[in-house]
């Protein structure tokens, strides 16, 4: 057993993180920046940061991921990163010719105190940024928050840089999708289109990290929100910000800078959260929900009814990012399941409050931990003391699932050992159907696998 060293006795750890349930800010910033068309993400730090983030995203999406780095050296740590960034911008525009460079910082550049705003302004004065090109930055110190914070900061930064109010309201609604998969973003756009609502969705990684095979390597894939999209977000009727941890800040920026009112919703994962999303969109756009969407909802509800006996009362451990965990928990509760352990390495202040809303009466029975020390190790210890029927989270759960023989549904970032998340959404009614199918699949597979011969049945 790989995790044989994990004892069931829980001792207080003050300083040690074992098997984290998070990673650092810059990877989130890089993912968000990839959701802009013709944009090259740029990592202002050591070369390794950029290599790790690109590798992590490539492993998750099985797609090429392009990003540049300031390639810090020993001298940089003494004299600061200004020379590196100026050189970098020159190299980038000469060699890769993007329309936009989205710079994010790292622990090193933050610690040595580089002032990115000033350096980019200097680059502009020095003529290192060609006419009509854009360079903006997000501050993403790795020792604050988590990858989720990095995503949020980058979306806020792109909003701040691009969104403009021309005082002429456009008949469109902004959707900030939060950190979800390209498949989810595709589904959100498709739902809006079915409702007949024009939306501006950003960041948008569809056709960026789920590119079709075309026989060529597009350095800048055809997808991504365009500069025009991002600008016009300031003229939209309203913003629907999905995922409070990832989208609230950008929505606030749209409100304060362009006076676009915002509704912040939990991610539309599961029946009720999707209901709220559809209802908000319907209300703001003043449209009727078409029969096709009602039917899809009906099919989900039908499946939940058909299958209730297989999931009712099952205890679930889940870990990952706050936005996903809150909505997943709500869905599990409405299936009659019991989210028993919920862990996120992300220190989101409002997490308990949101979980309380999502869990309702089940809140008291659940162990919830966030931030420092909220890692996979503690979750495993809880499970060792009182096991669960289902585990939901990213690939790093596979050790626990194997050691403790627990059915395991992969969800979140990163998924390194399975495919599907790029193609099939988990948001919307269709997404909930897929989630439920996956949950049922693993639970029933285990039942079949473990059943003694006489109890192994054709129908279940």
């Amino acid at each position: 057993m790989l995790l044989r060293h994990t004892p069931p006795e829980v001792l207080e750890r003050t300083s040690l993180t074992v098997n984290p349930a998070k990673t650092c800010q810059p990877v989130g910033a890089m993912y968000a920046a990839l959701g802009i068309h013709n944009c090259l993400p740029h990592s202002h730090g050591s070369q390794g940061c950029c290599a790790y983030h690109r590798s992590a995203l490539t492993r998750h999406y099985k797609e090429p991921v392009m990003a540049a780095t300031s390639s810090f050296t020993e001298g940089t740590s003494v004299f600061g990163g200004q020379a590196n960034l100026l050189q970098a911008l020159q190299t980038i525009f000469a060699t890769y010719n993007p329309e936009i460079v989205a710079v994010h910082t790292t622990c090193l550049s933050e610690t040595i105190g580089d002032d990115l705003g000033q350096i980019i302004a200097k680059a502009r004065t020095d003529g290192k940024i060609p006419e009509g090109k854009h360079v903006f930055h997000a501050s993403t110190p790795s020792y604050v928050g988590s990858h989720v914070t990095g995503f949020s900061n980058m979306v806020k930064a792109m909003t701040n840089y691009f969104a403009e109010s021309t005082q002429e309201t456009k008949s469109q609604i902004n959707i900030l999708p939060g950190w979800v998969e390209p498949s989810d973003m595709r589904e959100l756009k498709s739902l809006a289109a079915t409702l007949g609502v024009k939306v501006v969705l950003y960041p948008d990684t569809t056709n960026v990290l789920d590119q079709p095979l075309t026989g060529v390597h597009d350095f800048y894939p055809k997808g991504g929100a365009t500069v025009e999209d991002l600008r016009s977000a300031g003229d939209s009727i309203a913003t629907i910000a999905l995922g409070p941890s990832t989208s609230t800040d950008a929505a606030g920026e749209l409100k304060s800078k362009c006076n676009v009112p915002a509704s912040v919703l939990e991610l539309p994962i599961g029946l009720q959260a999707t209901d709220r999303f559809i209802d908000t969109l319907r209300t703001i756009a003043d449209v009727k929900v078409p029969e096709s969407i009602n039917d899809e909802r009906g099919r989900l509800l039908d499946m939940m009814a058909d299958m209730n006996q297989y999931v009712s009362g099952k205890r679930v451990a889940l870990y990952g990012d706050p936005d996903q965990l809150v909505s997943l928990s709500e869905f599990l509760v409405c299936l009659g399941m019991k989210p028993s352990y919920v862990v996120t390495g992300t220190p989101a202040q409002d997490f308990e409050t949101r979980m309380k809303t999502a869990l309702g009466d089940e809140f008291c029975g659940a162990k919830i931990k966030r931030g420092q020390g909220a890692d996979m190790y503690i979750m495993h210890q809880w499970i060792k003391n009182d096991s669960v029927d289902l585990l939901i989270g990213n690939t790093y759960g596979k050790y626990i699932a194997r050691d403790e023989n627990i059915p395991f549904v992969r969800h979140g970032f990163p998924i390194l050992d399975r495919v599907g998340h790029s193609y099939f959404p988990t948001v919307g009614y269709a997404g909930a159907i897929r989630l439920l199918e996956k949950i049922l699949g693993v639970i029933m597979d285990k039942q079949d696998r473990d059943a003694p011969e006489e109890r192994f049945e054709l129908t279940m």
């Binding site: 090259l40 020159q90 390597h217």
Partner: protein, 454 residues
């Protein structure tokens, strides 16, 4: 713009078209989409497989998260190396310093896991915030009685190669700290194999069959105690010279142990490694057993290779790997499958490596140092290759172009070393090159159209 591109030109060479000159050992230009990593990455991958030690990353969480169980270095015993330990430095720690946290974390770890040693990786900001990692390591070593070794692997302090050196320096502190009375005279250390997919087990078995005792394997399936007594071996065999030369050289200086550069990839290089070792010991029985072993392995292998060779003859490949030394073996191994190499490059090769590559490559082969995805993609298209051999970041580029791919890096899942590995390699290359999927891709139809027009 001109200048940037011209500078890149100096790191690209086309054999036969110009006198040989290739810039290497250079820092990547700021702003490049380099495939390279950093010092920490170098140290971490080298030390990672030491399975009965704890490896704690001192710094913010990212570096620990990204290197958690990412390399398939198998262990025949303990698996401490596959867990992720970090001090997860936060904003307050950056202000107040992280020494207390590191000390406490080490104590907690050692008490819980009872490791035989601890490696402490100092990442980017640790030096900047002024933590004295050496002093903490020394203190914990005295209190807990196990070696606690600082690894100075701040990412910005150079390239991945400098990380290898830092790792070697840390390990060298272990060498010579355990008795070696029971080490027989015909004995070796295997340096520079990381036991991906169990490769070191294959190699080790060959040496044992030859009658050569293996004292330590560094670092695939390594144990702290074996490294501590590795100075008792008569010879160091060094593969992946980029990562391990420094340790081998230090051992030569301090303990007078000679070293040989070897490679276990491909038929020729594998056989050569065994023969060279036998030759070194000048022992008739060992030599005899070696000849018999190679003969036996080859008579089993060659007929099996033929069936793959028939399909692969005339196909061409591109190679882009971390160290150049591996590239030599790959060029030869592909040749033994009837394939040619149209492009070969590495992240960290030096002048000698590239000179040697030039010698073994065919006319027209492109040799490249520290390349980027844009360049690689354009070379793949220009040379219309059938196979790309590289690592995680290269794989999707190959596939997008409709080219087969073989991971010869951390993510290989089949043992590719040894004679047995050569067969796996042939099977894997054959599988991907001959996949019917490529027939459906636009690249193939475009190529066909071109041929028809001609």
């Amino acid at each position: 713009m001109e200048q940037a591109l011209q500078e890149r030109q100096r790191q690209i060479y086309r054999k036969g078209e110009q006198p040989f000159q290739l810039d290497c050992d250079k820092q990547s230009a700021s702003g490049s989409v380099s495939q390279r990593a950093c010092v920490f990455c170098g140290s971490r991958v080298v030390l990672y497989p030491i399975a009965d030690a704890i490896h704690i990353v001192h710094g913010p969480i990212g570096c620990a998260a990204y290197t958690w169980d990412i390399r398939g270095s198998l262990s025949s015993g303990p698996e401490l190396h596959r867990l992720s330990f970090s001090t997860d430095l936060r904003e307050m720690d950056v202000v107040m310093g992280g020494e207390k946290k590191l000390y406490a974390a080490l104590i907690e770890l050692i008490e819980n896991y009872k490791p035989n040693a601890a490696f402490v990786y100092a990442t980017c900001i640790v030096g900047i915030i002024g933590d004295d990692v050496d002093a903490i390591c020394k203190r914990v070593n005295q209190e807990k009685g196990i070696p606690v070794l600082p690894v100075h692997s701040e990412g910005f302090k150079g390239t991945k190669k400098d990380g290898y050196t830092a790792a070697c320096d840390a390990m060298f502190q272990l060498v010579g700290t355990a008795p070696v009375d029971d080490v027989p005279p015909i004995s070796i250390n295997i340096l520079g194999d990381f036991n991906l997919a169990g490769e070191i087990w294959i190699i080790r078995e060959y040496f044992e069959k030859m009658g050569v005792h293996v004292v330590s394997t560094i670092t695939g399936d390594a144990r702290v105690r074996d490294i501590q007594r590795s100075h008792g071996a008569a010879l160091n065999l060094v593969q992946c010279s980029g990562s391990m030369s420094h340790l081998a050289k230090s051992m030569k200086e301090r303990w007078g142990i000679p070293l040989k550069r070897v490679s276990y990839f491909g038929i020729e290089d594998m056989a050569q490694a065994l023969y060279d070792t036998a030759e070194f010991f000048q022992d008739a029985a060992v030599k005899e057993r070696t000849a018999a072993l190679v003969h036996q392995e080859l008579s089993g292998l060659l007929p099996q290779l033929d069936k793959y060779k028939n399909d692969l003859r005339g196909k061409s490949a591109a190679i882009y790997v971390g160290g150049a030394f591996k590239a030599f073996s790959l060029v030869r191994a592909l040749r033994s499958l009837g394939m040619t190499t149209a492009l070969v490059g590495s992240q960290t090769g030096n002048r000698d490596d590239y000179e040697q590559l030039r010698e073994i490559c065919d006319e027209g082969t492109i040799i490249v140092d520290d390349s980027n995805p844009l360049e690689l993609a354009s070379f793949l298209e220009e040379k219309n290759v059938d196979l790309f051999i590289g690592g995680v970041k290269e794989r999707p580029i190959a596939y997008k172009l409709g080219v087969g791919f073989c991971d010869h890096n951390h993510e290989r899942k089949e043992a590719l070393a040894g004679f047995k590995g050569m067969l796996n390699f042939a099977r894997e290359v054959h599988g991907t090159v001959m996949s019917p999927v490529w027939k459906l891709t636009p690249r193939q139809s475009r190529q066909k159209a071109k041929e028809c027009a001609a």
